[in-house]
C-alpha cells in the first residue's frame, strides 16, 4: 500500500515518535529526505529581509495560487478527475470574504494601524474568523451540491459539466440583477481589510500570514494524501472498479475529495480577496482561474505533493518576468500558453515528476507514471 502513490516516496510523517534507539537518526534521515522543501521554507522565511515590498506582494500572490493549485492537484493528481470549474470554489471564497467585509457593518475595522491589544484585538479578529467559517461552510455546501450532481458523470462529461456550473456562478455574480449585492460585473472594490493585517501597510506581516497559510495547507494536503482516506482516493484513481469491488464506495470518497479540495480553494480565494482588496467575477470565477491552476499543476507535476507549489512559483515569476520585458509585454500570456501546450505534449510529468523519476529506481517510477498518465 505504501507506494501506490505516484510520488509516494517522501514524507511518511516526519513527526513519528519512536522509542527505538535509531529514532533520532530516522528523524534526521526523514528531514534530509525533505531537504528541498525545507530549503524552500527557510528561503521563504528569510526573504522579507532581502527583497522589497513589491516582490513580497508578488510572493503573497504566488502563495495564494500555490494553495489553489494544491487543492486542484488533489482532484487531478490524486483522485484522477478533471474539473474545469474549480475556480467556482476560489471565487466563492473570494466573494464570501469580500461580502463579509463589505456588507456587515463592522466597527473601526480600518482605523487603528497599530497591532490591537486586549478586547480590540478580539474585535478585529472576529471578522477574520467569520470569513474563515463562512468560507468553509459555503464552499463545503457548494462542494456537496456540485459533487452530487456532477459525480453522476465521468471523464469529459465531468469536465464539461463542472465548467458549465462555474460559468453559471460567474454569470450570476456578474448579472445586473444581483448588482446591489455582488457589485455586478465590476465586482467589489476597496474592501475594508482590518488595518492590522493591511496588505499594504503591514506587508511583511501579511507575507508571513500567507506563508503560514501555504505551509499549513501543504501539510494538510500531505496528511490527507497519506491518510487511509487518501490511499483510497489513489486506489480509485488507479482502478475505480477494483476499489469498488474491495468495498469502498467511489462516489463517497470522490465527494469527500471534492468538498475538501473546494474548501481549501475557497480559503485561497478568501486570502486572494484580502490581499488584492478588489475582486471581479472574471478574475475570481472565470475559467481563466481554473486554467491557471491547471497550468501550475502541470508545470510542477501532476500527482506530486510539492509540484503545484513549484508550478505556482515558476508560473507566476516567469509570467511576471516576461511581462516586464518590452518585447513580451502584450504576448507573455500567449507565450505561457504555448509553453503549457509544449509541456503537455513533451514533458507531461512536470518538474517535480521528472525529478522524482530520475531519483527513484527508473523502471518502477516509469511504470507508475505511465500508469498515472495512461488512464
Amino acid at each position: 500500500m505504501k507506494d501506490v502513490q505516484g510520488a509516494g516516496v517522501r514524507g511518511q510523517g516526519a513527526g513519528v515518535r519512536s522509542q527505538e534507539a535509531g529514532a533520532l537518526k530516522k528523524l534526521v534521515r526523514k528531514l534530509t529526505a525533505q531537504w528541498f522543501s525545507l530549503a524552500l521554507l527557510a528561503m521563504a522565511l528569510l526573504l522579507p529581509v532581502l527583497v522589497n515590498k513589491f516582490y513580497l506582494g508578488l510572493l503573497v500572490e504566488v502563495f495564494v495560487l500555490a494553495v489553489f493549485a494544491l487543492s486542484y492537484n488533489l482532484l487531478l493528481g490524486y483522485i484522477g478527475i478533471i474539473s474545469f470549474g474549480h475556480a467556482m470554489f476560489f471565487g466563492a471564497g473570494a466573494y464570501v470574504a469580500a461580502l463579509t467585509l463589505v456588507r456587515i457593518p463592522w466597527k473601526n475595522l480600518t482605523q487603528s494601524w497599530a497591532l490591537p491589544r486586549g478586547p480590540e484585538l478580539f474585535m478585529s479578529v472576529v471578522p477574520l474568523l467569520v470569513i474563515v467559517l463562512g468560507v468553509l461552510l459555503i464552499t463545503g455546501l457548494l462542494g456537496v451540491l456540485i459533487g452530487i450532481v456532477t459525480l453522476r458523470v465521468r471523464g469529459v462529461y465531468f469536465a464539461m459539466v463542472t465548467l458549465a456550473f462555474a460559468e453559471v456562478l460567474a454569470i450570476l455574480a456578474a448579472s445586473s440583477e444581483l448588482r446591489p449585492f455582488t457589485g455586478g460585473d465590476e465586482g467589489l472594490h476597496d474592501l475594508p481589510v482590518p488595518a492590522w493585517i493591511s496588505p499594504t501597510a503591514q506587508r511583511v506581516l501579511f507575507y508571513y500570514l500567507a506563508l503560514a497559510f501555504l505551509v499549513s495547507m501543504y501539510l494538510l494536503v500531505r496528511r490527507i494524501v497519506n491518510s487511509p482516506t487518501g490511499r483510497v482516493l489513489i486506489a480509485i484513481r488507479e482502478n475505480e472498479q477494483r476499489a469498488a469491488s474491495i468495498g469502498y464506495n467511489p462516489f463517497q470518497f470522490k465527494l469527500i475529495g471534492i468538498v475538501v479540495a473546494g474548501m481549501i480553494a475557497g480559503l485561497a480565494g478568501a486570502l486572494h480577496a484580502l490581499y488584492l482588496r478588489n475582486i471581479t467575477p472574471e478574475t475570481t470565477l472565470g475559467v481563466g482561474r481554473t486554467i491557471e491552476a491547471l497550468l501550475m499543476t502541470i508545470i510542477g507535476g501532476v500527482g506530486t505533493l510539492l509540484g503545484p507549489v513549484i508550478g505556482a512559483i515558476v508560473n507566476r515569476l516567469l509570467g511576471n518576468f516576461l511581462a516586464d520585458q518590452p518585447l513580451f509585454r502584450t504576448t507573455w500570456q500567449l507565450i505561457l500558453g504555448i509553453g503549457y501546450i509544449l509541456l503537455v505534449l513533451f514533458f507531461p510529468y512536470g518538474i517535480v515528476g521528472t525529478w522524482q523519476m530520475r531519483r527513484l529506481d527508473v523502471r518502477g517510477g516509469w511504470r507508475r507514471l505511465v500508469r498515472l498518465v495512461k488512464r
Partner: protein
C-alpha cells in the same frame, strides 16, 4: 405575450439554434468518433469570425488589424485586374468569399491541430482534454494579440442588409439567411453521414472505432478528416455569426458553453441530437432572454442541462454508452 412577440422570439431562437448547431455538430461528431472533447471548438468558431471580418474588409480596401496583409484592391489594380476589383467591390461577393475563407481556415486549423497535437496523445486521453483547453486559451490570446481587445462589427452584405415585416415586427433578412444556412448545412451533414462511404465509416467508427480499424480502414485518417470538417463547420458558423453577434475575443467561450449544453441535451455523437438540442437551447434562450435577462437565461439553461444529466445521462439521442466512460 402577444403574437408578434412570440413570432419574433421564435425567429430569434431558430437563428441562435442554427448557430449552435454549426458548433455542436462538429463537437458531437469529434467526441462520438474519437472520444476527444474539443475544448478549443469555441475558439475555432471565434477565429472563423475574425478571419471572415478581416477578409471582408480587406477585400473592400480597408486596412484591418496590425499585422495583416495590405488591402487587396490596390494590388489587383496594379496587376491590371480591373474585373477583379469590380468583383470584390460588390459586398455580396466579398461576403461569400469571407464566409468561405473563414470555413477554410477552420478546416486547415482543425487538420493542423489534430495532426500535430491530438494525434500524439490518443494514448493519454486526460492530456488531450488538458491540451485542448490550453489551446483555447492560446487561440484567444493569439486573437487578442493580432486583432486587439476591442470588438468588431462585420457589416451585413447589401443583399441581406434589409429587413422585412413579419407580423408587425421588422425582422432582418440576415436572420432568415442564417436559418436557411443552418437547414442546408444540416441536410448536407446528414446526407454525408447517411449516403457516402465516408459517412458509413464515421458512423461505424462512432459505434466501435477499433472494429473499423480491424476491418482494414485507416481510422486515424478519418479522425483527421472529421476533426478538420468539424472545425471547419464551427469556423464557418463563426463567420456567419459575425454580422449577427459581433466579433470579440470572448464570443468563443460563450458559444462553446451553449454548444456543450446542446450536446449534453442532444447526446454525444448524434447529428439529429445536435440539431434538436440546438433548436431547444436556442428557443429556450430566446424565450428566457425575452422575459428575464440573457444572463439568467444562461443560468436556467445550465440548470436544464444538470436535469438532463441526472435523468438521462446519455442525452436525448445519445449514441454513446451512459455517461461516457
Amino acid at each position: 405575450m402577444s403574437l408578434e412577440a412570440i413570432v419574433s422570439i421564435i425567429i430569434q431562437g431558430l437563428t441562435l439554434g442554427m448557430l449552435y448547431f454549426l458548433i455542436a455538430a462538429g463537437l458531437s461528431l469529434i467526441f462520438g468518433l474519437m472520444d476527444v472533447l474539443n475544448f478549443a471548438h469555441g475558439a475555432i468558431f471565434m477565429v472563423g469570425a475574425y478571419v471572415a471580418t478581416t477578409v471582408y474588409y480587406d477585400l473592400g480596401g480597408g486596412q484591418f488589424g496590425a499585422y495583416l496583409p495590405p488591402p487587396l484592391a490596390p494590388t489587383l489594380l496594379k496587376l491590371g485586374l480591373k474585373g477583379g476589383v469590380a468583383l470584390v467591390a460588390d459586398s455580396n461577393v466579398r461576403f461569400v468569399i469571407a464566409l468561405l475563407a473563414g470555413g477554410l481556415v477552420g478546416v486547415g486549423l482543425g487538420a493542423l491541430i489534430e495532426w500535430s497535437m491530438i494525434r500524439p496523445l490518443y494514448k493519454r486521453p486526460i492530456f488531450q482534454i488538458l491540451l485542448t483547453l490550453g489551446l483555447a486559451y492560446v487561440l484567444s490570446e493569439l486573437v487578442r494579440n493580432i486583432w486587439g481587445f476591442n470588438p468588431y462589427n462585420l457589416e451585413k452584405p447589401a443583399a441581406l442588409a434589409q429587413s422585412v415585416e413579419v407580423v408587425e415586427r421588422m425582422v432582418p433578412y440576415y436572420k432568415f439567411f442564417l436559418i436557411a444556412l443552418g437547414c442546408v448545412l444540416f441536410i448536407v451533414v446528414y446526407a454525408l453521414l447517411q449516403r457516402t462511404r465516408l459517412g458509413i465509416i464515421i458512423r461505424a467508427g462512432v459505434q466501435n472505432s477499433e472494429m473499423v480499424q480491424a476491418l482494414g480502414i485507416n481510422v486515424r485518417r478519418v479522425f483527421t478528416v472529421v476533426f478538420a470538417l468539424g472545425a471547419g463547420l464551427a469556423a464557418f458558423g463563426g463567420a456567419a455569426a459575425a454580422p449577427f453577434v459581433g466579433v470579440s475575443p470572448l464570443m468563443g467561450m460563450s458559444f462553446q458553453l451553449s454548444a456543450f449544453i446542446v450536446v449534453v441535451i442532444g447526446g454525444m455523437g448524434s447529428i439529429p441530437g445536435a440539431a434538436v438540442g440546438s433548436l431547444l437551447v436556442g428557443l429556450a434562450q430566446a424565450f428566457a432572454a425575452y422575459r428575464l435577462s440573457p444572463l439568467v437565461a444562461n443560468a436556467i439553461l445550465v440548470g436544464l442541462m444538470g436535469l438532463v444529466l441526472l435523468i438521462k445521462p446519455a442525452g436525448l439521442f445519445g449514441a454513446k454508452k451512459e455517461g461516457g466512460h
